[in-house]
Subunit: 178 residues, 2 copies
């Protein structure tokens, strides 16, 4: 699923005890192995590994919460950006979401099929499609926003006071540089 390894020099506090590949004589019985748990110390303190696992967990939670809306993360983010930027070009919405234009076509098709969004031909540039939400789309988005806010609140409870904000800030820094 993912990867990475940690190193004692780079991991200070948040890492688990850990053990290295070179075993001592006292560990030889474990090298033979029987039924115990695996040694995952090489992965536990690694940013990339933790990021992947956390993202999967949060998305899983998202999907549970949004089952009643029949909205996947990508669909919700699309509704959100369209709702906050009505009348923008289809390609602009896609770019903002980090979705390739070709892949956004089918996605918008689906939103349109469900009566949540609309393509309207621009009068000034007949190439582009100005995308807007329907009334139905706006209503659904309002409910979805509330559910999303609840998830954010629950994550705040889980991460402690200031923990959620600290996390968002740290994550933001990772996308700024690279």
């Amino acid at each position: 699923m993912d990867a990475y390894d940690s190193d004692e020099r780079t991991s200070g506090a948040a890492t688990t005890p850990g053990r290295r590949s070179r075993r001592t004589a006292a560990d030889l019985d474990e090298t033979a192995e029987s039924g115990g748990d695996l040694d995952l110390s090489g992965l536990t303190g690694v940013v990339g590994y933790r990021l992947r696992r956390a993202q999967l967990a949060v998305f899983e939670d998202f999907n549970r919460r949004f089952q009643r809306f029949d909205l996947k993360p990508a669909q919700y983010s699309a509704l959100l950006v369209i709702g906050d930027n009505p009348g923008r070009k289809q390609s602009e919405i896609a770019a903002a979401l980090g979705i390739q234009r070709p892949n956004f076509v089918a996605m918008l098709d689906e939103l349109e099929r469900r009566g949540l969004a609309e393509r309207t031909r621009s009068t000034t540039d007949r190439r582009s499609h100005a995308v807007v939400l329907t009334e139905h789309g706006r209503r659904l988005l309002a409910e979805a926003r509330a559910e999303q806010a609840q998830q954010e609140t629950d994550l705040g409870d889980l991460l402690g006071p200031g923990g959620r904000d600290a996390l968002v800030s740290l994550l933001h820094r990772l996308t700024q540089a690279e």
Copy 2:
């Protein structure tokens, strides 16, 4: 790509100014839109969105660094876990990595084809395959560990003192509960 929305009640510090869906009269010119940047305030402070973006960024960096090894994150993590748990069953390795057993078959095939890992039939249970690294695999893993440690160090520099450890700790909490 992903989704989520933030809410002023749940986001304290780390969020951007933002703007809500209901516009004021002063914002009407932006509702018509022309060429400016999009309003992404609904996404910037959201844990799920930030997680996804950060994970993609860190993985991209990983892939750049590991090009010379021809190792993808999943392959590196497999080598790592096998190296730290030699002789374990194929299914145990897969489970530890969060990979479905069927999907791990082709992956191990590839590692075996490249002479990095080996399947050896267990003498006690002729169903299972005890998986180990070859000498070549151990040598490659040693180099890969060093490169990975360097990435971790660089991430530490980027996130400030204690920032990396704090991030790992916060991410860990997200996977503990859910």
